[in-house]
């Protein structure tokens, strides 16, 4: 074989990277946290997937960089990548026999070594690990040699099986209320993870359907339908979705409703931040400030405790909280909106921290309760009905989301929305076109503050109390991550981001310790490789990927849209 030496070098390099990533996933404790989470009972755990997944990705990356599509070359390159990755882990395992890493690295425990060596004796375990890494590389190679259609069906089927295994407990908890359907699932699931036949059935079913569907040209069928029929289908889908969303709390039960409420509040705030960052291009890192202001205003106005002021009802206090939040947004915005993009980010960050420090201080303790916070915050009531539990509050939050979503969608294509986008693209040109820079930016800032304040007020009622600890910088980063990962400027993206970034970690307790690790990594990863997000805004997708949404020949590293002037 005459393969260029650069291909070999790349394969070894990718293998080393894969090995280091896998090592890191182990040493930060992620692999161990999932060490007993069986995906398929007795066959594979999520921890093992986390150990091997980096090899898979790096093997794909090696294959991508190999110019020749000769099956033998591809197999050798991918196998080499996997093997080198496995070797990195093997070297660490052998070193750990002589050096006590554990005195510094808390996760380099015998348990982790056992996980890496598949619970086998050391020497055999290391050999099995190397073999598994090699096989992972070969699987990547085999996968990339398949035809497009089979590959898509296969990857979807694998994903579904992994997800089913991972969410076993949740699915069963929900299915308990579903009568005979639960028996199908009970058959598919073992004590931990899926049973082997269950996994096989799910795999074949999903793979088969996906393969069959991929042969059907959905767009063509849709085009052949009459416009009336198309409209009927569209509204029918919306109606069904609406009914499902309305019934969600009842279907899911109290525990999941609470998670749903959290996701909802974050989505609500994401919609607001999306206006500020996505539409107007103002990177606001102190978004949590308005959240805190909303929550505390509501708390101070409605609490039945001594620190309270007026003991108002929720429906009177909530608009007041919004007013205060918007006022704060305008007061902050007025002086700083002349600043350049990155300075604006830092100043808003500073503002968020100032608010938190003031709330915590003894100075404001008589009014805001200091570190003890405010308890017994008023609940919303309708007539005599008190909306106190998580299932009922969902509807209040949902109403908030619908209003916010409606405002955001309508604003997006309005005169104001276009002004925002013009400012985002080029401030000087926009100003020359007669856009009032200060007023337009202030409106974006105030709008963001409005939604954030609403989120804060709802959060305060949901929890029933507010503490300064709930309003740290991390909340701002949380919301920023969710709109960036969903797709800056994209409204459906906010929902996707909220479900993925807020919902998943709440559903999977094992994730809780690694949430910010994953956020950080995904922010970097998204900016480097997919700056348009998971559900990109239509215009941005066009800008980045040409006409048909296919990959453009030279991918721009980032949306030009995010340049907020200089």
């Amino acid at each position: 074989m005459n393969i260029e030496s650069s291909v070999w070098k790349k394969a070894v390099q990718n293998g080393l990277i894969g090995g280091l990533i896998s090592l890191l996933l182990g040493l930060v404790g992620m692999a161990l946290a999932f060490g007993t989470t069986f995906l398929i009972s007795g066959v594979i755990t999520m921890g093992q997937v986390l150990v091997l997944a980096p090899f898979l990705f790096e093997s794909f990356s090696s294959i991508k960089r190999t110019p020749s599509k000769n099956p033998v070359t591809v197999l050798v390159v991918a196998g080499l990548t996997g093997l080198v990755g496995g070797a990195v882990l093997a070297v660490f395992i052998l070193l750990a026999q002589f050096i006590d890493f554990r005195s510094i690295l808390i996760n380099a425990s015998p348990d982790l070594i056992a996980l890496w060596t598949f619970q086998l004796p050391l020497v055999i375990g290391v050999l099995v690990l190397l073999f598994a890494a090699l096989v992972t590389g070969l699987i990547a190679a085999g996968f990339s040699l398949l035809s497009d259609r089979i590959r898509r069906a296969l990857s979807l089927a694998v994903m579904v099986v992994l997800a089913l295994g991972l969410f076993r407990d949740l699915i069963l908890t929900v299915m308990v209320h579903w009568g005979f359907v639960q028996y199908i699932f009970l058959w598919m699931f073992a004590q931990v993870g899926m049973t082997i036949p269950g996994a096989l059935v799910a795999f074949l079913l999903v793979g088969g359907i996906a393969y069959w569907r991929s042969g059907v040209d959905q767009a063509a069928i849709n085009k052949n339908r009459s416009p009336r029929r198309q409209r009927a289908i569209k509204w029918g889908t919306i109606a069904v979705l609406a009914v499902i969303v309305l019934l969600l709390p009842a279907i899911l039960g109290i525990y999941f409703s609470e998670i749903l409420d959290d996701v909802g509040i974050y989505v609500l705030m994401g919609l607001g931040l999306n206006i500020v960052v996505g539409f107007a291009g103002l990177l606001d890192l102190g978004y949590v400030a308005f959240y805190a202001i909303g929550a505390y205003t509501l708390g101070v106005l409605t609490t039945s405790e001594a620190v309270g002021l007026l003991h108002l009802s929720f429906w009177v206090a909530a608009p007041a909280a919004l007013l205060v939040a918007v006022f704060a947004g305008v007061v902050l915005g007025l002086p700083i909106l002349r600043l350049r993009g990155d300075y604006l980010a830092i100043v808003t960050l500073g503002f968020g921290e100032i608010i938190r420090i003031l709330v915590l201080s003894d100075w404001f303790k008589p009014l805001l309760g200091g570190s003890e916070g405010i308890q017994r915050i008023g609940q919303p009531t309708i007539g005599k009905l008190v909306l106190a539990n998580q299932q009922q509050l969902f509807y209040v939050i949902l109403a908030g989301i619908i209003i916010a979503g409606f405002i955001a969608t309508r604003l997006k294509d309005s005169h104001l929305g276009r002004s925002w986008m013009a400012l985002r693209e080029d401030e000087d040109v926009a100003e020359a076109m007669g856009i009032n820079k200060v007023a337009t930016k202030l409106l974006a800032f105030g709008m963001g503050a409005l939604f954030s304040g609403l989120g804060g007020a709802l959060f305060a009622t949901k929890v029933g109390s507010t503490y300064p600890q709930s309003f740290s910088f991390i909340v701002s980063i949380n919301i920023l991550s969710l709109i960036i990962i969903g797709g800056l400027g994209s409204i459906p993206g906010v929902f996707v981001g909220g479900l993925v970034l807020v919902g998943l970690p709440l559903l999977l307790a094992q994730f809780a310790d690694f949430v910010y690790l994953i956020y950080g990594a995904s922010l970097v990863f998204m900016m480097l490789s997919r700056p348009e997000g998971l559900w990109p805004e239509a215009r941005r997708r066009l800008e980045l990927h040409g006409e048909e949404g296919g990959p453009s020949p030279q991918e721009e590293p980032a949306p030009a849209a995010m340049d907020s002037g200089r």
């Binding site: 890191l24 040493l27 930060v28 404790g29 992620m30 510094i104 690295l105 808390i106 996760n107 291009g281 990177l283 890192l285 007025l334 002086p335 700083i336 002349r338 600043l339 350049r340 993009g341 990155d342 300075y343 980010a345 830092i346 100043v347 960050l349 500073g350 921290e353 100032i354 420090i357 003031l358 201080s361 003894d362 100075w363 303790k365 200060v438 910088f473 920023l480 991550s481 960036i484 690694f514 910010y516 690790l517 956020y519 950080g520 990594a521 995904s522 922010l523 970097v524 900016m527 480097l528 700056p531 590293p557 980032a558 949306p559 030009a560 849209a561 995010m562 340049d563 907020s564 200089r566």
Partner: protein
């Protein structure tokens, strides 16, 4: 330019100046009434001042990383606070290792030198990794993209450290030789404070010498002046950027070692607040300006240690030192609003503001 000042005056300006005046009045009024209360003695003020100087020295070394990277890439390296945080971590582990063999207290000077070198090396290494993975591919991207990447990298590093080393705090082993203090006419001066001030001034002088008098420093200044022209003159811009990140990282690592002498507790979230303050210092002095960063850091350190007691006590605010971080942030906001070019940043003001 033909308009009179009255026509140029906008509502925003009025608003800004009213806020500025209000804060100035509050500060002056607070200071006067504090001094009239005679709560603190003269030696108390001097004690606070020395603390402020030591703190300022540490901030200055961190600020160097921000200011040099900004000078060259026109980018805020938000993850620099985590580069700093890796310094204390390394220092702590090395010091614990040395302490367990008894070497730390037998040879304190050599131990400190070893700790310093290793920490500087690790921090520089992390800074270089950041540059290679997160910033180099985005060098031509719009301004906010690397900023978001930097925020992501910052969180990733924080929580990687948390995962690797645990979420608890580590106690830094005490060095016996540094625990004494002198008392000069009623003022207690700790040896650590002297070491920190002397160390940071020395490091600053070395950095200044590198930037001002060596060939590579000249190249750095040329790149920050005009990247394209520098490239045409035969300067390898890439390697200059790498060198800058390395130098900033090493300086942050040194800052980390000095910081642990002042506050001997190490944890994964310790980088955020000093990082933001060092950035404030860099902006205060004029970002991109090396002496400016030093000046800004010293001023900020003094404001932070003397400020709460001086400005706020007189206003009747309880436990004013709780608000010391808020003072730093307010300085940041005010300086960016009133003088974004900083105290010494005249040159940048013309082409960048």
């Amino acid at each position: 330019m033909l308009r009179t000042w009255r026509q140029r005056l906008t509502l925003t300006d009025v608003f800004i100046w009213v806020i500025g005046l209000a804060i100035a009045v509050a500060v002056i009024w607070g200071s006067i009434s504090t001094l009239r209360l005679h709560i603190y003695s003269g030696s108390g003020w001097i004690d606070l001042t020395i603390r402020g100087l030591a703190l300022g020295g540490v901030y200055a070394l961190i600020a160097m990383g921000y200011t040099m990277v900004y000078g060259i890439l026109k980018m805020i390296n938000f993850a620099h606070s985590e580069v700093f945080m890796s310094g204390p971590f390394t220092a702590c582990f090395v010091a614990l290792g040395l302490a367990s063999s008894g070497f730390l207290n037998a040879q304190p000077v050599i131990s400190l030198a070893i700790i310093l070198v290793v920490s500087m090396g690790v921090s520089a290494g992390i800074a270089l990794l950041l540059e290679r993975i997160c910033y180099r591919p985005l060098r031509t991207a719009p301004r906010l993209v690397p900023l978001i990447t930097a925020i992501g990298a910052s969180f990733f590093l924080q929580y990687t450290f948390r995962g690797l080393f645990g979420s608890g705090s580590f106690g830094y082993p005490a060095i016996k030789a540094l625990q004494q203090s002198w008392t000069i006419s009623g003022i207690q001066i700790f040896k650590t404070q002297v070491v920190v001030i002397a160390g940071s001034v020395l490091m600053m002088l070395i950095l200044f010498a590198i930037v001002q008098w060596t060939k590579i420093g000249k190249a750095m200044r040329a790149v920050s002046e005009d990247k394209e022209a520098a490239e045409l003159m035969g300067i390898n811009v890439d390697s200059i950027i790498v060198f800058t990140f390395g130098l900033g990282g090493a300086s942050a690592g040194a800052a980390g070692v000095l910081y642990t002498l002042l506050f001997p507790v190490v944890n994964f979230y310790m980088g955020f607040i000093p990082g933001i303050k060092a950035f404030t210092a860099a902006v205060l002095g004029g970002i991109g300006n090396v002496p400016g960063a030093f000046l800004g850091a010293i001023i900020l350190g003094l404001l932070e240690s003397v400020g709460p007691n001086l400005f706020l006590t007189g206003l009747g605010i309880p436990s004013p030192s709780q608000l010391k971080d808020a003072i730093a942030f307010i300085v940041l906001v005010l300086i960016l609003i009133f003088r974004p070019t900083g105290l010494l940043g005249e040159r940048i003001s013309r082409d960048k503001a």
